[in-house]
Amino acid sequence: MASILNSNFVAGETAEVAATNTKFTDVQTQTGQLNDENVRSESIDLWHMDATASMVVASASQNTEAPGYTKTYTTGAHALSPLVLQKNGNVDMVLDMGSLQTLEQYDVLRVYWNLEVTAQVLSTGNVYSGSVYEAAGGLFWGVWLQWSTNGSTWTDVPNQGSFSGTTIGGVAYNTLQVSNTTTKAFTPIPHVAMYTDIGNHDIVYRYPHNANELYTTGSAWFLRPTPSTHTYRYFRLVLAGLLTGMNNGASPPVSHIADIGPAFLDPQGTDASITLRRCYLAAMHLKGA
């Protein structure tokens, strides 16, 4: 604890420069040693917080608005571009943070989303076999996050790899390279679930198998820029599929998530599809240092 014990000036005595200064530098020294004892009855608590100086820079949420609204996304519709998740009225579901936000160094941006799968339909040509590489990873859909400063030009969020045209074994695929650093905002949704019975038959269920088997899934994405900064205002979710895991057969193998949606286009078979409901997207931007 800092404590000042200076003696007084004495009337009639000549005030020496050094002694006078010492009285004040003593105070200076002690004020540099204040601790919890000095302010034990005046500690900062929640009550002192400036109500206008929130820890939260911005926060907002968006959903599909009508709880019963459903949207079916098909392999044939998206070709090589991901589909934007939509809300009631069949318009893009866009989360608007209200104004252009600057993500400063050490700020924390947290984005969460969840969605409900109400139906999935297999293609009639649902067993995919690539000409060179087998789709050994099963079939699934992928949902990931994009952001924008103006609502018209969108990019995948940082640390999220983007699909790009790649040639694997002489065949062109739209692929997302599997990496520990570039697939952090990616939600895979299994396309089918298979139950194998003991005995003479197998049962393959679509997933969900019927209207009573709806399920929800979701994911999250975080960003704490160090040291770079970003600007953003809008978020949206995009979906692509059907996807499958692939590798190039090299040693060690290079793995990819390949978009084989176009393989389900007619005339190979009826489009595969997924129907979503009650999509929810929320973002919270916290102040850093």
Binding site: W47, P208, Y280, A282
Partner: protein, 248 residues
């Protein structure tokens, strides 16, 4: 009290003035700072350690907010459950699931003391449940039974009237949650060579999860609870977890 020095004027310096200034400085440093000495609303996030969040472990490290949560899991014999017997009893009298009342699902509520208005409240939740219907179709068959489950946030004591009749406002928030007819626990024949050899329970669980964000949440004691209704005999909650964060 605040430090107020005596102004030293031109001419002979009075020792009394100097001593008064020193004495006041001493008092200030020695522990006589009063709450009134602080200007109103002066402490900002700069006076506090910045919060961090670990998304993998779902843990927070902060001194500037409130947080609460609950994880509920139990053996199947002890799980909490929802039943039509207290939510949708009289289906023969015109009562449907849509117009029947919600009821609490025991052991799912979290209470959170919010000292002042929050900029943002963030709720994460997860449900894993199975459905059991022993009467509607005469057999255990979940397909005929459905249910509806919602998360409610209220800063007044929750009661059934509140849950069913209050209008959503800044003091009462309701997350339109997933319909929960999505679960089944039914007898299923396991066949061998086209002959029914035994019956076994195939338990299919379709998880429900979600995030819910609300801005400008008013001060008060907030109850965050799970409510539901069903026209089935029993919806058993195998696992339920909730995490609530509030940020100033």
């Amino acid at each position: 009290m605040a430090y107020i020095p005596v102004t030293i004027t031109a001419g002979t310096i009075d020792d009394g003035d100097l001593n008064t200034n020193l004495s006041r400085m001493s008092k200030y440093v020695n522990g006589e700072v009063l709450g009134a000495d602080y200007s109103t609303d002066w402490a900002t996030h700069r006076q506090l350690m910045s919060g961090t969040y670990n998304g993998v472990a779902n843990t927070m490290d902060l001194i500037s907010g409130v947080q609460g949560g609950k994880v509920r899991t139990a053996p199947r014999q002890l799980v909490t459950f929802l039943s039509r017997y207290n939510t949708c009893r009289n289906t023969a009298g015109g009562l449907t699931l849509a117009n029947s009342q919600f009821n609490f699902i025991p052991n799912t509520a979290v209470m959170l003391n919010v000292p002042r208005q929050l900029s943002c409240m963030l709720v994460h939740f997860h449900i894993e449940a199975v459905h059991e219907d022993d009467a509607l179709s005469g057999t255990v068959n979940s397909v005929t039974a459905t249910s509806n489950i919602q998360v409610v946030l209220d800063n007044e004591p929750l009661d059934i009237n509140t849950v069913n009749n209050r209008i959503v406002s800044s003091n009462y928030i309701r997350k339109e949650f997933v319909s929960c007819g999505s679960i089944e626990e039914n007898g299923h024949d396991i066949q061998h060579a086209a002959t029914s050899a035994s019956k076994a329970k195939i338990l299919k669980r379709y998880p429900k999860m979600g995030t819910f964000l609300e801005n400008n949440v008013s001060a008060g004691t907030w109850r965050v609870a799970l409510v539901g209704k069903t026209n089935g005999a029993k919806v058993k909650f195998i696992h339920w977890s909730i995490s609530v964060e509030g940020w100033l």
